[in-house]
Amino acid sequence: MPEYLVRLAQAHESFRKVELQALADVAGVTLQFVKYEEDSPYCIVNLCSDSAARKIITRSILAQGIYELWGQGSTYRTLHQSVRLLSGFQWPHYENASFRFTVEGYRGGRSASEQRDIIDSFSYMALKGQPRMRLPDVAFRVFEDYDLDAKEPKYLYFGRLVAESPRNEAKRTFDLKKRHYISTTSMDAELTLLTANIAHVAPGKLFYDPFMGTGGFPIACAHFGAVVFGSDIDGRTIRGTGGSARRGQTGKYDVVGNFRQYGIESSYLGAFVSDLTNTPLRIPPPTMDLTTGYLDGIVCDPPYGIREGLKVLGSRQALLETEKQTHQDQYKAPGYIPPKRPYSFTALLDDILAFAVATLVEDGRISMWMPTANDEDIELIIPSHPCLELTSVCVQAFNKWSRRLLTYRRRRESEVPEGTLESAKKEYEKGTRASELNDFRRKYFQGFKEFESMKKEFVRLKMNSRATEETVGTAEEREART
């Protein structure tokens, strides 16, 4: 299989291979990693064709582009040898094509005249076509990989452009700063799009977000072609009377308005107000077989309000008959607020997995975000379910904590031992597990002792990342121009 060079963004490193693999799986193409390093933007893969390469990269959020690898080496001498050997037979195909030839440096670079000299050193390829910067027939690029502060590059690649990614355009289009309706908890657009890719979103599929907020994940999924719906325990968020995070914003701002802004309203089934522990969605009874799921995927960032307390429907203590009567008499009145009770985050995670098992189709995916304190004891705590296979764990690390994107595949009926599903479903129907305060969970929460400061840090980082996003974008563009 031919080798291709993937030029990755140097961001969200632990998501990069996972995203490429997910996109290859969605496209049904075989992808093999030949060379990948977490601290390098250059990754070499095997793919069967340009068409396979194009399918993957034209959806990738963390790649910038993909190039057919025409040569590599640690010096220009070895690079040229390699180019002659690997790609000599291809030169005649491009003899009369208009072309663009560029040099990019990572952590280093060349002056304009040095770049010209480098380009001239490839004259043996005998390209006779017109040089053209905009829309050439073919584009070549030399990649120089430098160590920090080094004068000379440590490694070189040369490639023919096959496809550019939608990364910059997607980040610009879905930028929260330009979104009609957001809240303080909206996840940044890059991460929602990435989540959709990792969750195997594809045209024609049905996706659901049980904690949709202002609709960030469903929007990302619909952008990649899925039909979506969502729910939230807070109806004001969906209907938009809860207001926006922007100061001074007035008028009707709601989730459906976001879909309209991006021209994807056709793919939005709608939303409803509900609580996952009392979901109105169909849960096939345990006696039914495994093939009764109806969701292709679930994506979510569950609420983890620990300081203010995570709440689900219900009352702290069983209601007295008279209290029940009061609720019964009043619940239809405008302004009636259903009682809520505290709930533990880890119990909610178990509920989400059980819900996923009951509603996903075979091979369907659930991608779920989960915050974790950076503490050895709880580092490895990952919720599990016998009917779900953990397919990837991506980590976004902060100082004292991190958040992870966990992705699971709903196992097929043939993979699950008999009786496993029945017992799992029964457990879900019972609701909260009794073992809520066992050692495992206690440790988990100890990790959040500094939750208050963690939360502040979270908000601060988010604000910072919004502010620096533009700087990063420009740096990347600058890099691409050189």
Binding site: G204, L206, E265, L269, V273, P280, R282, K324, Q328, E429
Partner: protein, 147 residues
Amino acid sequence: MKLLTLNFLTCAIKTCKTNSASFPLHPRDAELEIVEADVNLPFLKNILPRLMWDELRGICTELGLPELPATPPTPADLIQPSSSTPETTDAAPIAEADEEPSQTAKDLHRVLLETCIQEGKLVCGACEHEYAVKEGVANFLLPGHLV
């Protein structure tokens, strides 16, 4: 909310889940609106086997919408037979991108993906609990005595 949503919704009360009368929910005093949407053939094909056909037919009747056929269409029924391709070319299947939705697909699309419930109630056939729909958003939060 698009009508297709009712294919997935039932009563939120746990004890109702096992009662077959809790599905589908019955629209009452419903204000419907048609919101034009692009026909999504890949989605219709994907979702077809997951439709609870008899229940959806019942809902259409209750809402006074055009009747759905007695039996669900087959995946082939959703695709417009191509005039340019002879019918006998089984060996060379038409590329998916070239497929056009049939009238059956368009009718199904009209009912499930363009018909929206804006206001009204959704009623459980088992316990008769009513869930209000306001501005197209149904509220399934249960009052204190029903959790």
